[in-house]
Amino acid sequence: MSEKEVKNLEEIFEARIARDEKIEPKDWMPEKYRQTHIRQMSQHAHSEIIGMLPEGNWITRAPSLRRKAALLAKVQDEAGHGLYLYSACETLGISRDELYEQLHSGKAKYSSIFNYPTITWADMGAIGWLVDGAAIINQVPLCNTSFGPYARAMVRVCKEESFHQRQGFEIMLTLCRGTEEQKAMAQDALNRWWWPSLMMLGPTDAESIHTEQSMKWKLKRKSNDELRQQFIDQTVPQADLLGITVPDPDLKWNEETGHYDFGEIDWDEFWQVVKGHGPCNKERMKARVDAWNNGEWVRDAAMAHAEKNEKRKVAKAS
């Protein structure tokens, strides 16, 4: 195709998106659109899969059968969300194996939040409340994104996500209404998860390199800073309701703007974690790679079994 023809196709393409038309996998698309979507969707899928690990840590130690059943269901949902997103991503012509390879080699990223440890039961509450809360704010606008398979996967993900946040908040509420010690546990979890949750919404707009293009493609509808402000505004009153304190001395309601002002985020910490130096990066990757490698014989055996059955069927028919 000549440069002029490509340029023409690109114009038609951008116009379709501007008209809110959806793009489907077999439609012509600019290579950059394909690559950006592979990057973002796979990063999203990887985050769901790695995101099972910090919570999986507490399934056997959940304090009651009710809590255990809910946590199991939540972790299972995360596996499901990872699977919806991987298969949506594969429609762009990349294989599942390549996607895993990018995760395992460190080429692809996942959300930095999952590199923090879950050291008490209250962390299950804080993750559901804060991390899933931030995730929902990020994800709801994606239900309208331009790439059809991604938008459809996100509709399903968002439907299932609100139970995650509610179960987390309920854990926090129970702890906060419990003994002094239990309330202290909830406060400690908020202290540790607050700032990483704010970082989870991504670098400031000034630092965010992909924002402009992503807005045009409707991969993003609000900037990172807008999403972060929305998260803070909605979460602070919930902390007040729990009776625990957000660990930010600069946090205060601003009558003029109608938003909370908040303190400086430690972006050095964020970039350290992104670059692989968070508290649990190595542990998470090792758990993931071990699970994949140790499961290899099972995958091979299932394939061999399927092939043998197929041959048997053919032999019987002939």
Binding site: G80, S87, R152, E160
Partner: protein, 97 residues
């Protein structure tokens, strides 16, 4: 051994959400065979009573039309207005037809 490194094939999953409705495409997944595709489809796509019936079809068995040929494919239907009831003028006296 042959084929031990072969990846699990891709399957398309169709779910009937309740009797009276058609099966609708829900998404896809990987599985070694149809039986496993069915089990995985249950766990991945119907964790909250989303369905009463599931079809699984190996993706390679689907023949899809090509969007770049949408012109030849679908445009001929556009100028056949006589296929629509509004094409026909009736006197007002005929109330319902």
């Amino acid at each position: 051994m042959e084929n031990t490194k072969k990846n699990w094939p891709l399957w398309e999953i169709f779910v009937r959400s309740k009797n009276g409705l058609e099966h609708r495409h829900f998404g896809s997944l990987h599985a070694a065979d149809a039986e496993m595709a069915m089990e995985n489809a249950r766990d991945v796509y119907t964790r909250r009573n989303e369905g009463v019936s599931i079809w699984v079809v190996e993706s390679k068995n689907i023949t899809a039309s090509n969007p770049s040929e949408n012109g030849e494919m679908f445009e001929p239907a556009q100028d056949k207005v006589y296929r629509h009831p509004t094409f026909y003028d009736l006197p007002d006296e005929v109330k319902h037809m």
